[in-house]
């Protein structure tokens, strides 16, 4: 199946309103700030889950329902459960009474702010942002998104990413073996 051949349907976004964008963006920013400031690692994980779910909403607004589903199932579901498991496995009681930021926090903060200044200067350079990023109205029925991604990943003719997909599965295998080997008491 050729994904380019699909019929584009001009749709005006019903839910992709600026209100929802700013709501989800604020949720993500607040979640991110909570992640890096909380003392208790479990609270950080909860804030990160909130931010990831808000990001899934943003993916839906960007007409990427498959990525949104993968985000919820794999990220908010799988990876964060792994994080919570490890937080409960290791004993963080002592850590919570200690200093939370390292000695180079000032240097690190300045470096991060320099990076932020770089970002801001780049985005301010795009003075005519609307000409650079026009608001594409072209979209198609959402039921085809998953099919189109599957065609790119698996299809023999149009699938450009089949080899990369196999490499990714190899990477996951190596990661599983590595995690088991490292977490094992004696090999």
């Amino acid at each position: 199946m050729n994904p380019v051949a699909m019929t584009p349907v001009a749709t005006n976004p019903p839910v992709a309103t600026p209100f929802f964008f700013y709501l989800l963006a604020a949720t993500m920013i607040i979640g991110g700030i909570l992640v890096i400031t909380r003392k208790n690692a479990i609270h950080s994980a909860m804030a990160l889950i909130t931010a990831l779910l808000a990001q899934a909403g943003l993916y839906l607004m960007l007409y990427a329902p498959f990525v949104a589903g993968v985000q919820i199932i794999l990220y908010a579901g799988g990876i964060m459960v792994l994080f919570l498991f490890v937080i409960m496995l290791i004993n963080l009681e002592r850590n919570m009474k200690e200093r939370q930021f390292n000695k180079q926090w000032l240097v690190g903060g300045i470096a991060a702010l320099a990076l932020g200044g770089l970002f801001i200067s780049v985005y301010l350079k795009t003075t005519n942002a609307k000409a650079l990023f026009p608001d594409g109205r072209l979209s198609y029925v959402e039921g085809q998104n998953t099919q189109a991604i599957a065609a790119l990943l698996f299809d023999r003719g149009a699938g450009q990413y089949m080899f990369a997909f196999e490499i990714a599965s190899l990477l996951l295998l190596v990661a599983i073996i590595g995690a088991v080997v490292m977490a094992k008491k004696r090999i």
Binding site: S44, Q55, V70, Q71, F133, L152, G178, V180
Partner: protein
């Protein structure tokens, strides 16, 4: 005001940059290695948001430039990034458990075995 009310790709890019910065600050300043790993997840998510936003942008471009409704390369790449994040989290937390078993600490600045 019009720029505020019309959500373009640039809005998503600015949000991605803000999240990336939060992740960088977390990586550079926190001591708890679990939170450092979570900040890395934040960085990867910021990149993913940019990728999906660019994918949406390319879907609105003419097909002769490589755009059109089939231009889902950004979303495919986002899925690969999520796969890498899963692998990274598994290996990183495995290292964390092994380290905690040996040193009874999760602070990154106490990991100074290679320091001269």
């Amino acid at each position: 005001m019009d720029a505020m009310l019309h959500i373009t790709t640039l809005h998503y890019l600015v949000l991605g940059a803000a999240l990336f910065l939060l992740g960088v600050i977390g990586v550079l300043t926190r001591r708890n290695v679990v939170i450092v790993l979570m900040s890395i997840e934040l960085i990867l998510n910021a990149v993913n948001l940019n990728l999906v936003a660019f994918s949406r942008y390319w879907q609105g471009m003419p097909a002769r430039l490589g755009g059109g409704p089939g231009a889902l390369h950004g979303q495919v790449f986002a899925i690969f990034v999520i796969t890498d994040a899963a692998a990274e989290a598994a290996v990183g937390l495995g290292i964390l458990i092994a380290f905690f078993r040996n040193k009874e600490t999760v602070n990154v600045d106490e990991v100074n075995l290679l320091k001269w």
